[in-house]
């Protein structure tokens, strides 16, 4: 069994109110490390056995069609463990 991960983030030019909320909360709690924060989504997809090339292509397709909104978001597909 393997884990395919799809990470979806807003495109850099798109306003990210969620990330902004975190970025402005951090210093109030005394954390000053962040220059900027962006918040996105992480999908963990469990598949049987080791993912095949065909499966990965399918995941790409699903990431494009369902998991992300290409108008405002970008995605990355990764295989983890």
């Amino acid at each position: 069994m393997a884990l395919i991960v799809v990470e979806v983030m807003l495109k850099p030019e798109i306003l990210d109110p969620q990330g902004q909320a975190v970025a402005s909360a951090l210093p109030r709690l005394g954390f000053n490390f962040a220059k900027s924060v962006r918040q996105g989504k992480r999908f963990e997809i469990e598949v049987e056995g080791t993912p095949t090339a065909e499966q990965l292509a399918q995941v790409e397709d699903a990431a494009h069609k369902l998991l992300s909104n290409p108008v405002i978001e970008t995605y990355v597909v990764k295989v983890e463990g």
């Binding site: 902004q20 975190v22 909360a25 918040q39």
Partner: protein, 225 residues
């Protein structure tokens, strides 16, 4: 001097005026409290109202929990000070660990606004003593993240200690464990409730006047002491 109940405004609070109106109609004085100050202005109880504090962009209530006013409220609540958290206020109470569990995305994934039937399960708390055991009431429910979740152990504890104060009846609006609509802490001074009693205080603008009993309960508790 009449009984003073504070109503906290966080950035993004929405039902603060409504909560204040409910407090006044119940016969107490509503005292506005602002998130940025730790001054409780000598109120004798506090309502954390509904809304989207800080937009609820991270997790509901996650950022509001760190407001200066919450430091004062948490300390006081640990010593028996009455606190009612409604909707976003409930979420803030869970994030502050005054109440166990957490409120997560509705099972249906939509924001849901409806007139919801509830059964009152515990009439011993400071905020529910005006109800009769098992009383059924209808008050508005409106949220996107109202699904009460906790681990099995916590659930068992809440049930065995009778700390579930209200449960959804006839319709499961959000997938909460055991249909939980509201809970209290051990002492019964801190209550969190997902539906909105402050929107059921006048039949003109709400589905019933059942919500008023929550606010009258605290008055009865404190003034009748």
């Amino acid at each position: 001097m009449s009984f003073r109940i504070g109503v906290v405004t966080f950035p993004g609070s929405l039902d603060d005026r409504d909560a204040a109106r409910a407090v006044e109609i119940a016969g107490a004085t509503a005292v506005p409290l602002f998130h940025a100050s730790d001054d409780l202005k000598e109120v004798e109880a506090v309502v954390l109202p509904g809304g989207f504090s800080y937009g609820d962009y991270l997790r509901c209530g996650a950022i509001a929990r760190f407001a200066p006013i919450m430091n004062s409220i948490v300390t006081a609540a640990e010593h028996g000070f009455p606190v009612l958290g409604i909707c976003n206020g409930f979420q803030v109470l869970c994030e502050s660990h005054l109440l166990p569990g957490a409120l997560t995305r509705n099972q249906g994934l939509h924001f849901l606004c409806r007139d919801q039937k509830l059964k009152i399960e515990n009439t011993e708390t400071m905020w529910t003593n005006g109800f009769t055991q098992g009383q059924e009431i209808v008050i508005p429910l409106k949220n996107g993240e109202g699904s009460f979740q906790c681990d099995d152990e916590t659930l068992e504890m809440l049930e065995s200690e009778g700390r579930v104060i209200a449960r959804y009846v006839d319709f499961d609006p959000n997938g909460s464990r055991n249909l939980i609509a509201g809970i209290s802490n051990e002492r019964g001074n801190v209550v969190g409730l997902m539906p909105h009693p402050e929107h059921a205080i006048e039949s003109l603008t709400g589905p019933s006047e059942d919500g008023l009993i929550f606010f009258k309960s605290i008055l009865h508790q404190m003034v009748g002491r």
